[in-house]
């Protein structure tokens, strides 16, 4: 029996029972990896010693397709990347191309875009909360969250005919005028939603088992977060007060007052609190938005055939998962020469190894849930 392990443990830590390090494969077909993600964990007994994410199972080559489509034709592909927050994907792409063209959408279009994007943020966070709680064992929140998310999807369906991959915006503004009763629907949802969030809070926030399972799990310090390029709620939960909607306002965000929630320790519990607070803030933005949607045209004066002058542009928005950026290079033709998407889930997932190292196997499921990744966006 080796003496008490003061020395550096040998790579294969053989314990009395001969249980040396085992490699555990989670996924790609796994109930709680939120899609086709495969995680190879090296375990020393119950503790994770090393982890490696193997991705690419959902790679459809979106960036290659973009080089053979015109600017308008590529817009629907963008919804398929982060299929949980399709509206904000569309907003990012349309605004990037508008910047490339040097034009801007009219004020009415920008306001409606802001409202729909904030609704989409709530829907995305609701889906995250439901599946995250389900992974940790709470069976009930998922049904409440999906009930609210259904209301939002109904609004999208009434506005643009689709629920999930909506293709709601066009380059230069909006395709459809808001249906009459749009303001009332959003108002009714927002009024009802504030009570719903308190319902989730009572179920989870003070629940000793929930706190026990999430506090101190998957800690990511602010310095590590910035170094790893992590953005979005994960960054804000580590104590960095940075939100693109405040730092570089786009659409109509500069007209609305809202808070940017942050927490200090950057563990799973803090990310849960930050996202719950973000849902409340998004609700406030929607309410401010529908107070007065300015009248006016909904489409900028750009021709049917878009030929942006040669050059390049990088534009990014605050998607529910983090900074979603589009780097588009145009060569003067109707088809983009190169479209590069900066996927927040892909880069946030890179921080998984830093969070999972040293944690227990049961926490790996909670850590995957708390980063809130969508594999469509990770693999593109």
């Amino acid at each position: 029996m080796s003496d008490p392990r003061t020395t550096e443990p040998t790579n294969v830590s053989t314990t009395v029972l001969g249980a040396d390090e085992i490699i555990l494969n989670m996924g790609p077909q796994h109930p709680s990896t939120h899609g086709v993600l495969r995680v190879k964990l090296k375990l020393d007994g119950e503790r994770v010693v090393d982890s490696e994410c193997i991705i690419g199972y959902l790679h459809r080559g979106v960036e290659k397709i973009a080089e053979h489509r015109s600017y308008q034709q590529f817009a629907p592909y963008v919804d398929r990347m982060d299929y949980v927050a399709a509206v904000s994907n569309g907003l990012g792409y349309c605004e990037a191309v508008e910047k490339l063209l040097g034009t801007e959408a009219p004020i009415r279009a920008r306001v409606v875009r802001t409202i729909l994007t904030e609704l989409q943020r709530i829907a995305s966070h609701l889906l995250w909360l439901g599946t995250h709680a389900l992974d940790i064992g709470a069976l009930t929140p998922v049904f409440y969250c999906f009930r609210e998310r259904e209301e939002i999807l109904k609004i999208f369906e009434k506005y643009c005919g689709a629920r999930l991959t909506t293709h709601a915006f066009r380059i230069g503004g909006l395709q459809y005028e808001t249906y009459d009763g749009f303001e009332q629907d959003v108002k009714r949802f927002c009024d009802d939603f504030v009570h719903r969030i308190d319902e989730y809070e009572t179920l989870l926030t003070e629940n000793r088992i929930w706190v026990g399972r999430t506090k101190g799990v998957g800690i990511l310090s602010a310095a590590d977060a910035i170094a790893l390029g992590v953005t979005g709620p994960v960054l804000r939960a580590s104590g960095v007060k940075w939100d693109l909607r405040k730092a570089m306002p786009y659409a109509a965000y500069d007209q609305y007052k809202f808070e940017v929630p942050t927490r200090e320790t950057g563990d799973t519990y803090d990310r849960y609190v930050v996202r719950m607070e973000e849902m409340r803030q998004s609700r406030l933005i929607c309410l401010q938005g529908i107070e007065n949607i300015p009248t006016g045209p909904i489409m900028a004066r750009i021709g049917k055939v878009l030929k942006p002058p040669p050059g390049e542009v990088y534009h990014s928005i605050e998607a529910p998962k983090g900074e979603l950026g589009y780097y588009i290079v145009s060569d003067g033709t109707t088809q983009p020469y190169r479209v590069r998407v900066r996927p927040p889930s892909f880069i946030n997932l890179q921080a998984f190894d830093k969070m999972a190292r040293g944690s227990l196997v049961a926490d790996v499921v909670a850590i995957i849930g708390t980063i809130d990744i969508v594999l469509g966006e990770v693999d593109r």
């Binding site: 029996m1 008490p4 314990t15 009395v16 029972l17 001969g18």
Partner: protein, 168 residues
């Protein structure tokens, strides 16, 4: 009475049979299961003797406690190594002598107890509440040995914890 003796022979046959099976099994888990059946069979015999408390203690302690530990250790220690080794060492001569001695002992026991081999007379009716009887004995008359035994167990437990602690 007929039912009593039928059950008695059934239990004892079960006990002896599974004991033999236990020894001869190559698969350790099968061995453990047969050991459990042996212990349950002896518990059955206790029941026949109206000693309900002993029956329950036998079931809880041996089968419910110690055997669970056995099965745990069997499953945790990976056995495919030990299965390959030769199970029996070569001290045939010593085994032979021991077997003879044991045989002689059993023969003498049977010889002495010739009369009570087939129990015709009914076992004296124990007081229905033998749990109280056992309790009085344990905490009344045999208080001191009981305390010593419990201290001994306590020391053993602490020893085990210390040994396990050092390895972690």
């Amino acid at each position: 009475m007929v039912l009593n003796s039928i059950l008695f022979y059934f239990f004892s046959a079960l006990a002896v049979g599974s004991a033999i099976l236990m020894v001869t099994r190559r698969n350790v888990v099968h061995g453990a299961v047969y050991l459990i059946t042996t212990l349950l069979a002896t518990a059955g015999v206790f029941l026949l003797l109206q000693a309900e408390f002993l029956f329950i203690v036998q079931v809880i302690l041996y089968v419910g406690g110690i055997m669970v530990l056995f099965v745990f250790v069997i499953m945790l220690v990976n056995l495919d190594v030990s299965l390959l080794q030769y199970q029996f060492n070569r001290q045939r001569f010593v085994a032979g002598v021991l077997a003879l001695a044991l045989g002689a002992q059993i023969f003498v026991a049977i010889k002495m107890g010739q009369k009570s081999l087939f129990p015709m007379t009914r076992v004296p009716q124990m007081s229905p509440k033998n749990t109280e009887a056992v309790a009085d004995a344990l905490f009344g008359h045999f208080m001191l040995p009981f305390e010593i035994a419990s201290i001994l167990l306590l020391v053993a437990m602490i020893g085990a914890v210390v040994m396990a602690k050092r390895r972690v």
